[in-house]
């Protein structure tokens, strides 16, 4: 057993996992307010990356300005989605909202294809690809940066949910009717959760765009992001972070053992197994809220 190699696999797995968390945090934000997994989160992430590129390449702004501006644009898009599409669905079965998010994802993919085409574009963040060594262990810089962003967002949201607005959002997640009864602007709260998730999508889009290039394939991040969100419990930000690390490590280390046996491709199998087993064995995930039942 090569311990150095194993720790390298584990550490890089954990970093990649935190990038899944970065994506999953957006899913959790929307789930908390609407009780629906947002199937368009992949599409939003892809659009976030395209908007950054449009502002940086097509308009010619520096990246440090293009990224926050893109966040503002996406904030507006998030509010807009609630206003135009979701508000009409208030009170309808959750599965209808789920279908709506699926339709939205397809729509966003089609739109980017129509505007920017299907060729992959690079983000060019300017993060060095020189190897970074921690002792004998090789670490990717962009993964380290992305993991840092994920953790920073995690801390920011933990603090946000203690503010008055954050508490109102959590109240909405608990009970729409009771929220209305004390005058909470439920619709605006749901809009805010979409807006925040859209901003998270910019962060995820930039990091993942740097890693794998910007094209429609970015929207496929949904599959891993959803697995992480489900494992974490769907409505827990802490859960999304820890589940991301777990999935990243299991995937990276597991694939190293399994790939020689099955001849490659075991990563997908591992992710699928984690998703299916979570739903079967622990549907509330690691940190999900149970509905409280008093005896």
């Amino acid at each position: 057993m090569d311990w150095v190699f194993l720790s390298e696999l584990a550490i890089n797995g954990a970093l990649t996992g935190l990038l899944y968390s970065l994506f999953a945090i957006g899913l959790v934000l929307i789930y908390k307010a609407s009780s629906v997994p947002n199937l368009a989160q992949g599409g939003l992430t892809m659009v976030g990356a395209y908007v950054v590129l449009a502002l940086a390449r097509d308009v010619g702004l520096p990246l440090w300005l293009a990224i926050p501006l893109a966040a503002v644009v996406m904030l507006g898009l998030g509010f807009g989605i609630e206003r135009v599409a979701l508000r009409r669905l208030a009170g309808r079965p959750v599965v209808m909202i789920l279908m709506l998010t699926l339709g939205l994802d397809i729509f966003l993919r089609g739109t980017t294809l129509a505007i920017w085409g299907g060729t992959s574009r690079s983000m060019e963040l300017g993060v060095s690809y020189d190897p970074l060594f921690l002792g004998d262990i090789f670490i990717s810089r962009i993964h380290l940066v992305g993991a840092g962003v994920a953790l920073a967002l995690f801390v920011a949201f933990m603090l946000f949910f203690r503010t008055r607005t954050g508490i109102k959002l959590r109240a909405i997640a608990d009970d729409y009717m009771a929220s209305w009864s004390v005058g909470i602007a439920v619709e605006r709260g749901v809009g805010l959760s979409w807006a925040l998730a859209s901003v998270v999508a910019v962060a995820a889009g930039v990091i993942w765009g740097e890693i794998q290039g910007v094209d429609q394939a970015l929207s496929l991040l949904l599959l891993k992001g959803l697995t992480v969100a489900v494992l974490g419990g769907l409505d827990s930000i802490l859960g999304a972070v820890i589940a991301g690390i777990i999935l990243g490590v299991v995937e990276n280390v597991g694939a190293d053992f399994l790939d020689p046996l099955v001849g490659g491709g075991s990563r997908e199998l591992i992710v699928a197994a984690v998703l299916i087993l979570t739903v079967m064995i622990r549907p509330h995930g690691l940190f999900g809220r149970h509905d409280i039942e008093r005896v």
Partner: protein, 269 residues
Amino acid sequence: MQEKVEAQNILSMNSVEVLYDNVMLAIKGVSVQVPKGEMIALLGSNGAGKSTTLKAISGLLKAERGRISRGEITFQGTDITEALAQKRVEMGICHVIEGRRVFEHLTPDENLTAAAPRGMSRSTLNAEKEKIYGYFPRLAERKNSQAGYLSGGEQQMLAIGRALVTQPKLLMLDEPSLGLAPFLVEEIFGILQKINKDEGLSVLLVEQNALAALEIVSQGYLIENGRVVMHGTAEALKSNSDIQEFYLGGGETDFHNVKHYSRRKRWLS
């Protein structure tokens, strides 16, 4: 004369009809007046239309695909028949909905914070909270535990406290006594009475527990089948033989049986 009566009523509901899903007529021309600073009870059995009446007043009907199809509601002289629920809370109407419905995953303290009106300063909010903890010392003791694990009585207190944070002028409560031990009902009703006296808060109380309700209100309305079938002072209602039979569990049932059937039929028609 007419104007003077209007001015004294904080809430006036005139011949209101409510339709659910555009077909189901749940209340059929209900008129209820709440004089300023008084406590009024709305009594009636299951499915009579009590909750629907409150939802018509608070604007929560919309969330259940219901709407007012006839009649009007005025609050402090302003027509609110079409106003949004949120607007009505801002104007001073707060509805403590049926079944407690506290924010279970929040602490009691956060439950109170969640109800803070927009723009309420931190110091005002803290003062409101202190006042509410003063009314409900049990809540103060448990303010940082999870609200979902409070006892039924504590949850009801929290639901009332949460409504008080909105600084209502009219507080409407939907069956606050449901499932609570008699001593708790007495405690909560006592506190309501105290708030009513101290702050001049007007209260519209929906109850099936007519016995307890009639002890603290000045007037009561009896609703059956979507219509007001009786209205009078608490004293008059308490001594009314129909109310005694059906709601207070008293009365000489034997030879009244025939008679009460006909009376009941009159209500149903």
